[in-house]
């Protein structure tokens, strides 16, 4: 995985520029071109942030899983650096998703927070990967930290479908879907330019994500090089 990233961060200037353009176009489309939603009105525009964020978060956690698995298998430091970078950015986007959901929920449901299945699931994801970052920072020895984190990266990802299932069942059994649920987005009668806005937004977020990831990966790589150099210098 990390190998494929190499050409990415060599061209990360271009990637950053592309991301900037896509994000700007996406913003224009989501805020100006797309019409307000028939039921939810203008608030629905938050969805152009919300859906890409959560997809990016899941993509990130998938990369954590892949990096962790490769690290345990091959013991290559770069896979661990990738997993660490992806986890950090995944946490960022998960937190953003929750904030957006909350701001969207206030006018839509009348509350900032409700124990809706989706919100709960996202909050649990955040807890798991904040735990992942804490675990990393609390283990002194670097190799051990990497190993421990890799195990959590794998176990956490394997657990997501189970958590997903349990949280959904729990909500549907407990609370009749009386309030408007976010999965009841009116996909049936979407305006075509809404879909376009969502697509452009998503592409923008994706480009931005890979830009952030490549920079964060490079930071990890440089820190590794610094360590290697110090080791060389400390050579006896």
């Amino acid at each position: 995985m990390a190998k494929e990233l190499r050409p990415v961060h060599e061209t990360k200037g271009i990637l950053g520029a592309l991301a900037l353009v896509a994000v700007a176009v996406g913003l224009y489309w989501s805020l100006v071109v797309a019409p307000p939603d028939a039921y939810q009105g203008e608030v629905q525009r938050i969805m152009y942030l919300h859906l890409p964020s959560i997809l990016i978060a899941y993509l990130s956690y998938f990369l954590v899983f892949v990096g962790s698995g490769l690290y345990l298998w091959k013991r290559e430091k770069r896979d661990d650096i990738l997993a660490h970078a992806a986890a950090e950015i995944g946490v960022l986007f998960t937190a953003l998703t929750i904030i957006e959901g909350s701001i969207w929920g206030r006018p839509t449901w009348g509350v900032w927070w409700t124990w809706d299945a989706r919100l709960t699931l996202t909050a649990i994801l955040l807890l798991i990967y904040v735990g992942y970052l804490m675990l990393r920072s609390l283990i002194e020895d670097e190799q051990r930290a990497a190993t421990a984190a890799a195990v959590l990266g794998i176990i956490g990802f394997l657990d997501i479908p189970l958590i997903h299932m349990s949280v959904y069942w729990w909500r549907t059994l407990h609370q009749p879907p009386s309030i408007l649920r976010p999965d009841k987005l009116p996909w049936e009668n979407v305006h075509p330019s809404m879909l376009t806005a969502l697509t452009i937004s998503f592409v923008g977020f994706l480009l931005l994500y890979f830009y952030l990831l490549s920079v964060r990966y490079r930071v990890g790589e440089m820190r590794q090089e610094i360590k290697a150099l110090r080791l060389e210098r400390g050579a006896r």
């Binding site: 913003l27 805020l31 009105g41 203008e42 608030v43 525009r45 938050i46 942030l49 964020s53 960022l92 937190a95 953003l96 904030i99 957006e100 701001i103 969207w104 206030r106 006018p107 931005l208 952030l212 920079v215 964060r216 490079r218 930071v219 440089m222 820190r223 090089e225 610094i226 150099l229 110090r230 060389e232 210098r233």
Partner: protein, 51 residues
């Protein structure tokens, strides 16, 4: 018009946070790059002194 307030808050917070993250990333990047540069240059000279 109240709805636009929520939209503005959401977009403002999200892009604000992302920009903050970008800033912190840039700081860490520059710090690491400077440290690496410093080590590389001193390594060359230190190697001469020892030999």
């Amino acid at each position: 018009m109240r709805a636009w307030g929520f939209v503005a808050a959401a977009y403002g917070i999200v892009w604000g946070v992302i920009l903050l993250y970008l800033y912190s990333l840039k700081r860490r990047y520059d710090q690491a790059a400077a440290e690496l540069e410093r080590l590389r240059s001193t390594e060359a000279s230190a190697g001469h002194e020892e030999k």
